[in-house]
Amino acid sequence: MFQPLSSPSAGISVPDPSVKALSIRGLRKTYDNGFTALKGIDLDVEQGDFFALLGPNGAGKSTTLGIVSSLVNRTEGEVEIFGHSVFSDPVNAKKMLGVVPQEFNFNQWEKVRDIIITQGGYYGLPAGEVRERCDHYLKALGLWEKRNEVSRSLSGGMKRRLMIARALIHEPKMLILDEPTAGVDIELRRSMWEFLTEINSRGTTIILTTHYLEEAESLCRNIAIIDRGEIRTNTSKRELLAQLNVETFVLDIAPAQTTAPEIEGYPLQMEGDHTLIVDVEKSKGLNSLFQQLDQQGIQVASMRNKSNRLEELFVRLVESNL
């Protein structure tokens, strides 16, 4: 579905590495109806990072990204993209940024190629260069056959790829993707992940919001969780997952059991007669559990995490705030 990238996206010049790709300081947003969506957040994203901004609905993710991409007015605070203020130096800040929004926001009556070429024109790219880049990304994103189709005739997945191609036309140093895989099938999601990973490996900083926490766990190196307008945690994925002291596993067992076996240190629950749910503390591990089940004549046929690890942590962090 996605073709490997070749030139011209190679060769992105790297600014002073000490400059943050994104720096947010004291960002506050109160809407006209009095609702405070952001309560003075601070956030840094390093150059070249693959960063996830996670949070429940209404947490402030879209408001944050909206202010970064100049779609929402701030109430207070500062935002810099590669050292350029979004408010006092918007031209240079915007040149660094590509945005793939959650909702389709292109002209549904325009042809696919025209939408991308027009966007290149908005960035002041010469016609020849923009056509070359447009064709390159249309091929890379599997849209070449649809280039002369009116955009409203595209499938949901194609429309999402069209927005990615449009966001890349000026070859930004930072790409923001707001729920890029919402509503797309597994095959497309996987190929989109590969595509984004490749872009990131070429030096483009990527900031992602998603409700698929498996996606964030697979792709991102650093993660911030925002809730009720405040950053709850902002750290590396490794450190974040290290905070997960207890994991819940699902064990498929044989023979069938009517009641949950009692094993000290391992709270067990039956779910049906062949499935055990167990909370395992990191310090205890699984060996002792398997040994004791074996001693009771219970065999474990298979085992899996009850939910994605990041998801467990996310739920605990958000619930602890309720």
């Binding site: 007015n73 915007k94 926001n105 027009t118 966007q119 908005y122 790219l125 016609a127």
Partner: protein, 257 residues
């Protein structure tokens, strides 16, 4: 943005706007041609001879400049208000907002698009009028400058309407309840010298009167209004409305939360 980049960005908006109204020419170019042809036939050919002279000219000759100006005004306004509101409604205004285009270029781009449609329709109506009367140009510079300024003024006004509009109803209210009455009462079909003195004075607060009369002067050489006053008022409106539209864009009125 550098000058070259800015020029490309401006060209892109203007090109997109012109491509838009040419693509839907059945909705944008044909209807005013038909409407104005009907005006020429009914008011000029059928009723006109019974009215006699107006301002020293046959009635058909008298109304042609006003009808051309009326089509320029409504189409300049209509193009920008519908296009920019459509851009907001479909949310592809965000394509412009995330890009580094200065807001003045966004405004100028849409206004030039509106002027292009206004002048295109004006040219079509002028060509159609030649089937009904001989059109002599008294002063080409006055004619061209006043039609360009008027088109610009109403394109900006359409942009402001689109900024405030929250629904498709909102983009038809001003043209229906303000623009059309002002145009009809702006001396398109009559000379204000026919009115009692009180209504002559009331007519003078209608800015469209100045535009129609100045355009009529450019073509026929007759006007109810001194040219200097007319140009001062038109240019004053252009500057005032442009500044207001620029301010609205800068604060993100209607386009940024």
């Amino acid at each position: 943005m550098r000058i070259r980049e800015t020029s490309i960005a401006l060209y892109t908006i203007v090109y997109r706007e012109i491509r838009r109204f040419l693509r839907i020419w059945l909705q944008t170019l044909l209807p005013p041609a038909i409407t104005m042809s009907l005006y020429f036939v009914i008011f000029g050919n059928l009723i006109g001879p019974r009215i006699g002279e107006m301002g020293g000219y046959g009635y058909m000759e008298f109304i042609v400049p006003g009808l051309i100006m009326m089509s320029v005004i409504t189409n300049s306004y209509g193009n920008v208000v519908s296009s920019f509101y459509g851009t907001k409604f479909q949310r592809h205004i965000e394509e412009l907002l995330v890009s580094p285009i200065p807001i003045s270029i966004i405004l100028i781009g849409y206004v030039v698009g509106g002027v292009a449609r206004g002048l295109s329709v004006g040219a079509i109506v002028t060509c159609l009028s030649l089937f009904f009367t001989d059109l002599q140009i008294h002063n080409i510079w006055v004619t061209l400058s006043v039609v360009a300024l008027t088109s610009t003024l109403f394109a900006i006004a359409g942009f402001i309407n689109a900024i405030y509009a929250n629904s498709f109803d909102d983009i038809s209210i001003i043209p229906t309840f303000v623009l059309t009455p002002l145009t009809y009462l702006g001396g398109v079909f009559y000379s204000i010298s026919l009115l009692p003195e009180f209504w002559q004075n009331v007519s003078l607060i209608n800015p469209i009167l100045y535009m129609v009369n100045t355009f009529r002067y450019g073509i026929l050489g007759v006007t109810d209004i001194p040219l200097g006053i007319a140009f001062t008022i038109i240019i004053g409106f252009v500057i005032g409305l442009y500044s207001f539209a620029y301010y609205l864009l800068r604060i993100g009125k209607g386009i940024r939360q």
